[in-house]
Symmetry: C2
Subunit: 454 residues, 2 copies
């Protein structure tokens, strides 16, 4: 029995028999990834009951350890007040992640039962798209009015020590009466000046900040350029609304990359975990696959048009998938390089011509090399030079077509505001299949008498 | 003329004519991604000259903005003392990134000319693999002996203000005589106690730390669990050797994800940028493609074996690529889910059986749906129920084979310590092509008389 199965069984037992203390003790022997693996494999009812048996803080830790989509499912099944108690233990940005995945009614119920101030903050953060500064900022930061003195701040710090324990108190943000950002202070700036000084006298004025709608790519670049612990986020009136930390930016970039990877692989409509119900897993995958049938029919129709040629030289059928598959690989390489250069900001969608020129040279060179290899193989097999020319020529031509297309597609799609990750690969495959079949069969039709008896 | 071409031209002009002031002024009008795009498109000689014309700090900023591989090429072309001056301006982990990409002689020459203390540090960090705590830690942190008093520390801070400006001084690390980590202090811990207290009296003892060989996945999990500004890294004797910041962990995870993406797309042996020389770009891509020819021959040989069947029912040739391509897509979905679950730690390589059971149900369901669709299309086209059964049955069977294989491959390869990203997809394609061709042609051969005249 694998360790996961054993852990899940053990957990189920404690949960079913309401053995709270043993459950907590047992969980404390596991590390967080073991817990995550074991918990997501329980029945939903048991997951809900398990979280309910723990204190909110421990339950929140488990919620943070399992994927967001899973977390949302469990939270939605819980009684509202229990869910609220747990969610209030999450950091603000994780809370917003979970709330944003929930359906509207459920998240409204939670927000209505939450501490008023936290709810106002969360509602404000939920307004922002997930991939901008407002969507990934945190609200655990300290801001003080600029007229306060160092003494006031130190007293405040000492009084609220406990509450601030989880805060990121390396910087203090300084604001005016209208909550507009006017300065920043590091803790060690408080060490040396006399304690009667006002913050506005010692603060660093006009600090770096980012607008709430700043996108991920710019944020990433911002932290590449500035080694900062975090950056304050302001709205269009320069009012301080949150703090963005560099690791949250990287995390968001990472999430986007994962979505890209999943889309390229044909998993659309969000993530899939094998612990999800069969029908939802099957349905997500089918959405993509049935669309693919359509594309495949388009490509294969070329073969249908050339059935006579194919019937006359049946050997061609062996080479058809090879030519189309090889070109597909060449095209995918070009897609990958374009996607990478786009995401690094090394090319812009408008630079089609530059990309075309660069890909043309690689396409011609690689087409010749690959065509020579596959042509030679065809010749060695059947001893017919015309077959070698048809196959080699078709592969060379199709390689060129597919690297040109593969290099351009991400730029074109990005220019059209379509998702290159989702659309590039199936479009490319369809076109390179079509062209591959066409080149082989059309070239063969042109020299058909020379191919008889192959 | 695109903006990049214009910028590159302008830069070339300033560089060729040695107009230092105008060059600096012009660069200050561009943002860092414009600069990166423009600089990498210059001739190598001009890139080297440009960096030489700037002060080391500005040159270092440009070096940080362009991809590592490019940066290394430029630095290797520069005179050593110039290169050293620029590299010394980089943060320690970026410096190590660049040095580790250089060839041995070049990096040795740089290290020999560097400030002795920095060189010792860099050499130590170069010893570590890139994907562990030692490989991504920074050396810009403050550590003090535990016997010092708060007063000593404050004086040290004030004396070295300038040097520490770039440091991450939110925490101080406390060590004993042997440089072993004994505690940690936050700046605000210095605010309240009397200044004559020794650090060991006020520090948080036995602080969290990670071993220098801790892997990325564990580090990522560590920061998921602990909201910390950074974590001290210790060697096997508990000697403090560096600090790991959470955003550097995310950055390294991101890099690994990018490598995975490029490998899946068939770009191996490192990254490719279109500004690289043609032969190196073409060669990297061919390395992969020529290997693929071999795999394609294996798959296509199945068609060669069944040429007679195919010649008898040429319509089958239309469906061959459809069945193999569709199954390839199904299999890739399963690969993606497995790779994702592996990287999240939701499954372990040993859990083949669990994955098989989960995939079998999806495979049977999706196989039936897709087989029904494609079979119906075949029937509508040719009106032959046997053809529909052959095609639909082959697709159903091959879908099952490919999701089972796709789900298992990443686990198997990971268990064998092979790179799932690199090997899963081509292996999968080869097998699903072979099986697809086999199912269609073999099923057809079994009912050949019923298919006559299709």
């Amino acid at each position: 029995m694998s360790k996961e199965v054993a852990s899940s069984k053990q957990l189920t037992e404690f949960v079913k028999e309401n053995r709270v203390v043993e459950l907590s003790d047992y969980l404390s022997t596991l590390d967080s990834s073991d817990i995550a693996r074991a918990v997501v494999r329980l029945d939903m009812d048991d997951q809900v009951k398990l979280l309910g048996m723990l204190d909110p803080e421990s339950a929140a830790e488990i919620i943070e350890g399992i994927p967001d989509l899973h977390a949302v499912e469990v939270v939605e099944e819980m009684p509202t007040e229990k869910a609220v108690a747990i969610l209030e233990e999450l950091e603000s940005d994780h809370l917003v992640d979970v709330l944003s995945e929930m359906d509207g009614d459920a998240s409204k119920a939670i927000l209505d039962s939450m501490d008023h101030e936290d709810a106002v903050e969360a509602r404000m953060m939920l307004e922002y798209p997930a991939d901008c500064a407002g969507g990934i900022m945190i609200s655990e930061y300290l801001s003080f009015n600029q007229d306060l003195t160092i003494k006031d701040v130190l007293e405040n710090l000492q009084t609220n020590q406990e509450e601030y324990a989880d805060y990121h108190v390396q910087y203090f943000y300084v604001v005016d009466e209208q909550e507009r950002l006017t300065g920043v202070l590091r803790v060690h700036d408080l060490l040396f000046p006399p304690r009667s000084k006002q913050l506005k006298e010692i603060m660093i004025s006009s600090p770096l900040s980012v607008a709430d709608m700043t996108g991920l790519t710019e944020l990433d670049q911002f932290f590449e350029e500035h080694t900062l612990f975090g950056v304050p986020v302001v709205d269009k009136n320069n009012v301080l609304v949150g703090i963005v930390l560099p690791d949250r930016v990287e995390e968001a970039v990472n999430k986007r990359k994962t979505r890209t990877f999943l889309r390229i692989s044909g998993i659309i409509g969000g993530e899939e975990f094998r612990t999800m119900p069969l029908l939802s897993r099957s349905g997500r995958r089918l959405a993509w696959l049935t669309m693919n049938i359509g594309l495949n029919i388009i490509a294969a129709s070329v073969i249908a048009m050339y059935q006579d040629t194919l019937a006359a030289v049946i050997t061609l059928a062996v080479f058809l998938p090879m030519v189309s598959d090889m070109s597909g690989c060449s095209g995918n390489q070009a897609v990958a390089v374009s996607m990478r250069e786009l995401s690094l900001g090394l090319i812009r969608p408008g630079e089609l011509l530059w990309v075309l020129l660069k890909e043309m040279r690689v396409g011609i060179l690689n087409g010749l090399v690959l065509g020579l290899i596959l042509g030679s193989i065809a010749f060695l097999w059947k001893g017919n030079i015309w077959l070698a020319l048809v196959i080699g020529g078709a592969l060379a031509a199709n390689t060129l077509v597919s690297v040109l297309l593969g290099g351009m597609l991400p730029l074109l799609l990005k220019g059209l505001r379509l998702d290159p990750a989702l659309v590039s690969s199936p479009l490319l495959t369809t076109v390179t299949d079509m062209c591959g079949f066409f080149f082989v069969l059309n070239f063969a039709a042109m020299v058909l008498p020379k191919l008889q008896g192959v």
